[in-house]
Symmetry: C2
Subunit: 448 residues, 2 copies
Amino acid sequence: MASETPNFVVIFADDLGYGDLGVYGHPTIRTPNLDRMATEGIRFTQFYAAAPVCTPSRAALLTGRLPIRSGMTSDVARVLFPDSANGLPAEEITIAEALKDQGYASVAIGKWHLGHHPEFLPHNNGFDSYFGIPYSNDMDQVVESADPRQPFWEPRIEYWNVPLMRDAEVVERPADQRTITRRYTEEAIAFIRENRDEPFFVYLAHSLPHVPLFTSEAFAGRSARGLYGDVIEEIDWSTGQVIDTLRELEIEDETLVIFMSDNGPWLLFDTHGGSAGLLRDGKGSTWDGGMRVPAIAWWPGRIPAGRVETDVASTLDVFPTVLALAGAEVPTDRIIDGNNLLPVLEGEANPHAEAPFFFYRGQRLYAVRKGPWKAHFMTESAYKADTEYMEQDPPLLINLDADPSEQYDVAHEHPEIIAELTAEVAEHRASLVAGPDQLADRTARPLD
Amino acid sequence: MASETPNFVVIFADDLGYGDLGVYGHPTIRTPNLDRMATEGIRFTQFYAAAPVCTPSRAALLTGRLPIRSGMTSDVARVLFPDSANGLPAEEITIAEALKDQGYASVAIGKWHLGHHPEFLPHNNGFDSYFGIPYSNDMDQVVESADPRQPFWEPRIEYWNVPLMRDAEVVERPADQRTITRRYTEEAIAFIRENRDEPFFVYLAHSLPHVPLFTSEAFAGRSARGLYGDVIEEIDWSTGQVIDTLRELEIEDETLVIFMSDNGPWLLFDTHGGSAGLLRDGKGSTWDGGMRVPAIAWWPGRIPAGRVETDVASTLDVFPTVLALAGAEVPTDRIIDGNNLLPVLEGEANPHAEAPFFFYRGQRLYAVRKGPWKAHFMTESAYKADTEYMEQDPPLLINLDADPSEQYDVAHEHPEIIAELTAEVAEHRASLVAGPDQLADRTARPLD
């Protein structure tokens, strides 16, 4: 029996690459829980995060809006830092805020990164409670090193003075990152048990596998892939624990679980970063490796088992999908960029398969995808030290269905597609009101 | 009930890349039959073809021996051509020959490429019958073109005067490659039906997705990946037909089916070539993309469902595994390079996980792998026009379990591993007797 207002568990990994799960083809990272989740649910193969870096990607997931609209993306600062003054503007509506009106209990667990000053924290964005770190786990670095990457190769928790918060209080500093995935999992399970009889929303945003990498003793040295694999295998375990709990409580038929990543792998960190599989480039880039991510949805009561969805979808779709399922009105006073994926979850073709998807890096629109086609107006590699910026005029045109590694520019064969995509961009730009840059002001006093 | 002498179906795709199946992570090629075969059987993630090109890879599969021993690899000619004089030496023992003594019926279907003159054809190598093309489907090109790749982009069967043979007779020329996968499949199914009551061996060596690409009408335009995807989806269908037939005849519990590829994708052919997924380089190279291939084994009566095997194995292992299962003696008058994988198929750890695997290109040993480690003594990219040859002294050392894309040389951290692998190579070389080069002589008259 699926209740009319289902529960939602949104699991968001940090810097997990497209190629890093067994079910997405990784040869040595073992992810039996996520693989099974895919076998029992739906796996997306062309699913995008809405930005190639953390803060804008999270803003987009929780609001269903391109981060350019909320001002949560910037050409001055790529993400929020401990000295950033701002965060997600109060007028933005998060999933948690929309669900609160429908009587949902909600919790944010893990990495927030939408503002660490009180007014921006989860409890001021619709969540009943919060447990996690307010920004990336590599910020607040206190160890000094001539080689900036050296502390990452043999990380110790005391190298980073990262705060662990419960609601608005710092409860541990430095956060013990070795046990953090386990503790996030325990928090999620406790919350689910407590709220089993009412509709709930769990936002479980793992702070790993973002570097520095840490894992609990139970997972240390377990993966042939090394420490990075250990971390993924612990996140896989965590996902299995959540699903096992839903089954034990017999609420699996009324709970939608979605697993995603916030952006592609951080290739700069060698084997401590992940793999984009066959995709080009990684985190920070608008090549697909920077933004196409694993995405698996599971809901035994509603999602037919074993479907592989190859049409384009994105984290922007989570907001309207969740709101529709909860019976909440999608706000009409603002543009929501995502689409309701409910038909897809129920086994139908994606009615929004031809909707354009825009690739922003900072405040600039680098590329657009529509159906199989992606036009690159600018390209910039984030791979290692190669950050060359190129304007592409005429734009590069890629058929991503046929050329997933973005190797072959076919612009000269399809001037009509270039024209169509250019028109989509023009239409998008004409209606776009960019929000004031929320990331630029870095004059705040960091958290004590 | 598994009979004491099971049946064997060995399916060998041509130039299929590591990343080209759904279950190996391809986003748009749909392979439900192979995916299900993996779910019901065992999928290998570090399985190697014994050479990065066709002829030596096939010689190795059928004999269990490195092609340097049989002389079926050369620095003069990479493979056999229509003007080649020789083929697999008569003194080599093929799987079919070994099984003949055990009372097996056998058929070779598809691409042979171990010699097209009568003495080298399948019926002189242990097979009862043969139906297929004797060498690659791009040989015998008759169309003239200033751009050598042009005929491949819009291939027509009459551009290549490839012979289709039944036993020693040419029965069609040019082979109608549009229907060839379907006809191979029909041949295999008819053979299985005819021989259902006796032990049998089917060697089904698809001549595709080697370029030029052809597909039957039923698959034309079906895949979002384009023509290459259509071809793979037809091979997937073919595999499903074979498995459905085994089930229908109720002999699935006494039949081992193995699906593999002969080498990595031919990257030179853009979207008409496949993808090595996250692996480096492709066909022709001793980087893993040239030799690591998809490999799925299925045998409901004996292989536990859903296993993923991450230890190293190779096509060299097929010969000793099949012989052991058939109760045939492995020849003791020669070196057999493969290992019996039966324990792995039955769900145990691979007892040969630490056996060295040697990467030859032509007659030169480029690299060796042992456990997670691969030492490159020479490297040569086959990617596009970049065929730069490099001696690596000291050798590059890669931890392939941790670094599947071969990006990070860790030789300086592990001199003891370099020493160990160098010693393995020295031991191998000391015992090696290279067979006379069977590919060098190209003075023969082509088939009429």
